[in-house]
Symmetry: C3
Subunit: 186 residues, 3 copies
């Protein structure tokens, strides 16, 4: 009889404690709680393409200018962008959101950039934003940056985004594939 | 007798385990563990107001300049700021801290910016900093950005800050209301 | 007999629950789960040192230029850097990684900057990156910024980095000591 009461007590405690520790708070773990793949498309202003350009050079070192990415692997060029996000690798697909922020080329002897930007969604599929920051050694096949936060559907998200250069054309267009894996989901 | 020992063991384990899981670590959940509301005031340098200005344009696209926010919804203008934080919406109230960092206008067809900044406090009320990052589609009534970290009184904080444009005057002054909700408190 | 079964059940539940809550997820707490100390070295381009420079001014206010840090405590100067990281305070030690990103001087009446950067490692010792953001009131002996994320060996890291100016020479060279304490380790 006492033992049976104990079993009840045990389960009660387990339920109460389990829910307080796991129910209200976020899901976190070594396996992604959410995976998403997107493409975004960057067309840099070169003095002639103001209609199509989605990005512009707004900072440059003393030796640079703002209508062409500079020498020394573009070291010091700061680019602001508002790029369409698509579900496939076609620039002309209907955008599902915008990638907005900046990158700075930050290395003299190889192409490398530092990124601070957001994915901004406002569709039936997704509402909210995902915020990213990190180093992009863009000559590597894949590079990992951090998902540092999110809002709306991505409330408080954290994770890793793996970037791949899917295509580039001269110094005006490039397309990145972004494989987002969230390890904290609320 | 054995059953009574079991009850003791049960509670002992619960206490030990409960404290190890919840006592030393942070509080996290779907409800804010801390809420704070502040205002900050941005006065952009326009070539004439160097005494009062709290912000300056330091990057601009090829078609822009640095004493007036540019066309195309200021696309490409990078602004650095050190703005007073107040508890109410009065520019002349005693500041309780400084909002320091930058924003970049990043969209050609509507006012939108990307923000990276900190609230820095050093008063009897608050010591430490709160670090923010995210997209600010500033024509929306409210916009959510991420609290990506904190120091001092805000050690390891994470959360969401909801921005509202409380006032603006031409292209020189604006005031933001920042409603901070932390969901991770340590 | 029943009581003995209960003990077994109890331990089983404890093990299962304990492992699900603590085994798969990260370690978090008020004591650092990992501590690391590094130095990095910043040599700002001044128009003459292009060979040795590791940093360059790429944004400046209307009254500034890009070969010398400006007046008003460098307010508005945006600097991009790719600095060697060393284990000791010797500029000529073998680098163990690169500190890459930017800082912006953001206060008129005292030296203060805002930092967004990464430590990028690719050695036998460390592979991966640590991402930082925060305010740097650099006249203070120590300043705390946030570790907002990490990749590779520093997967999903969060913590605090305490900065100390270890040395500076005029307005061309400075060396920071970075004492990293992680409070979330995965």
């Amino acid at each position: 009889m006492r033992a049976q009461n104990l079993i009840s007590a045990l389960f009660l405690i387990f339920i109460v404690f389990g829910s307080s520790a796991m129910g209200k708070g976020p899901v976190r773990g070594r396996r992604p709680c959410r995976s998403l793949v997107f493409y975004f498309h960057d067309i840099i202003y070169n003095g002639k393409n103001s209609k199509n350009a989605t990005a512009a050079i707004v900072g440059a070192p003393a030796w640079g200018n703002k209508t062409i990415l500079g020498g020394k692997n573009h070291f010091g060029d700061l680019v602001v962008f508002d790029d369409p996000i698509t579900l496939d690798n076609n620039l002309h697909s209907t955008p599902v959101g915008r990638a907005q922020g900046f990158y700075i080329y930050d290395k003299k002897d190889v192409f490398t950039a530092w990124l601070g930007f957001s994915f901004v969604f406002n569709s039936t599929e997704h509402k909210g934003s995902i915020n990213f920051a990190g180093a992009d050694p863009l000559m590597n096949k894949t590079r990992d940056i951090s998902v540092v936060g999110g809002t709306g559907d991505f409330f408080m998200a954290r994770g890793i985004a793996t970037l791949t250069t899917d295509a580039f054309e001269g110094e005006v267009y490039f397309r990145l594939c972004v494989d987002i894996k969230l390890y904290e989901c609320w």
